[in-house]
Subunit: 311 residues, 2 copies
């Protein structure tokens, strides 16, 4: 079943201890869509400028991703430059040029209206809310956000959070959003803001899911336990950019590919999130996610199981 | 089968966001011994001063721990004071009085000679090596260390590392010891220093085990994968002091209670390490570890499995 994702399609300049790229295809929606494309149909809502080439678009279409919702407009595409030289776990932003994203007003193609799954990638919560309102019949909505929106656009973000089935953010964002340094208490507070479930990504230490008693898992009056998925120990992280979006793509892509969202589905989705994140960081930009063999994917899933399961 | 542990038996003054204690029984060997006592016989080598009371000793003996190797001498016991007010993950040391530990020369009671398992808790590597030499026939030796010995006693520590079946340290210590910020590369380097296996403790994110091809798991020419065990998400960490020692006690205690050290035993031991660490931090000092019901222990083990396993 199809996922509609709204978010940034951009160009990134990245430096890490493994090297440097001046300008590669990036953006949250790009990483998400590529990762999710290994599981289900994906449709993208975004805006790009005149510098977005046919070759850039082919990165999507070669993976069967529907790009009819990518609006082409005058000007330059969103550009971000960051450095991981000081800290591989957190980018130091060197430059952010919103460019065509500054005046973006999402339009949903008629062909996208039957999408059953909606992912609101990290963009202005006003745009997230706009797309959410234009897709009233979706079955499941998950989303992401970041420090900037948490700090300076709290009211707009609060409206988006109320309607989410799942929020996927990292440790720092969760603690900032909840004003609490304890992960479990932070999760409780965030779940009280609206999301039915919360997935907190811990980078090299995997991810933890928390569930509200309003979530699918609380149906029988049973409090559903948190669930922890591992990350793969890697001897080299070439480029962490987009790892979180790739996690979200694997996670939500797997969920969309399954008939029902059961606790077992959610748990496996957490593992597939880790799997896609682990591939993403092996190369700069989206290189690794463009060329995965489904067999590699299943092998890595088996590896995640073996390194975390007692038998 | 009996474990012999050598390490500090001490008094601690601790302040955390949950409260403050002026002086409670502590020390690496104390936490280790109490945690391990739920699995197997434990014997302690340490030194205490005149301030160590019969009531303090009863904390050990009530758990069936053999204290004949705890030497009583003139002067005061080792005292440590630390604060976790700024950071629950890392203590700020306020005071360290070595006292009777300054001139400690370990003596092994004859009754301890048949111990099959030896744990070298965090003390001067010269003392660790001394006890190791006095116990030539032990079946398995694991140990711990800390930044101070890594930085300022590297040569003495190197000798201890050569003889270890397992080294249990935390992330910061592993990266410091290997001079490498990447966990997998750091683990490779540490394994090349001698330990046949390495368990890196990640606090609230669990622990990862790495294995050298000289370890039991490499016997058939098969490279044994790393293994990741979860930690329990807790809404309040009352006192993190001794969590790592309690992990080691649960880990090594479980191993000593089993007939063979197989990969399956090692994995379950990692889980029991997490279980004992999770109990330890629920109260100040050793309070929680003094009063566990075996049923609670099994329930928590089941919880660890449920929050990390797909089915």
């Amino acid at each position: 079943m199809a996922i509609l994702v709204v978010g940034s399609v951009a160009f990134d300049g990245i430096e890490t201890p493994s090297g440097k790229v001046e300008r590669v295809l990036g953006g949250a929606a790009t990483h998400f869509a590529l990762a999710a494309s290994y599981f289900t149909d994906v449709r993208v809502i975004a805006v790009v400028g005149e510098d977005f080439t046919a070759e850039n678009e082919a990165v999507f279409t070669r993976r069967g991703i529907d790009t009819r919702g990518i609006e082409h407009t005058e000007g330059k595409s969103f550009f971000w430059a960051g450095s991981y030289l000081k800290n591989l776990n957190e980018a130091q932003t060197l430059r952010t040029d919103l460019n065509v994203f500054q005046s973006f007003s999402p339009k949903i193609p008629a062909e996208y209206q039957d999408s059953e799954f909606l992912f609101l990638a990290n963009i202005d919560p006003v745009l997230q809310a706009d797309v959410r309102a234009k897709m009233p019949n979706v079955k499941l909505v998950c989303g992401d956000t970041m420090n900037y929106w948490i700090n300076d656009h709290a009211e707009n973000l609060a409206k988006v959070l109320k309607g989410l089935d799942g929020l996927l953010i990292n440790d720092g964002e969760a603690k900032l959003l909840a004003h609490d340094a304890n992960l479990v208490r932070a999760a409780d507070k965030i779940l009280s803001m609206g999301p039915k479930s919360l997935v907190v990504k811990h980078g090299e230490f995997g991810a933890t899911a928390f569930f509200s008693d309003r979530s699918f898992a609380g149906k029988n009056g049973k409090v559903f336990l948190p669930f922890r998925a591992p990350a793969l120990p890697l001897s080299e992280v070439v480029d962490p950019t987009g790892a979180g979006d790739s996690f979200a793509g694997g996670f939500f892509g797997y969920i969309a590919s399954q008939k029902d969202l059961t606790p077992a589905t959610f748990k496996k989705a957490m593992f597939y999130g880790g799997v896609m994140g682990s591939f993403a960081v092996e190369r700069f930009g989206t290189e690794r996610l463009q060329q995965l063999d489904p067999k590699e994917l299943e092998e890595r899933f088996a590896l995640f199981r073996e390194l975390s399961h007692l038998e």
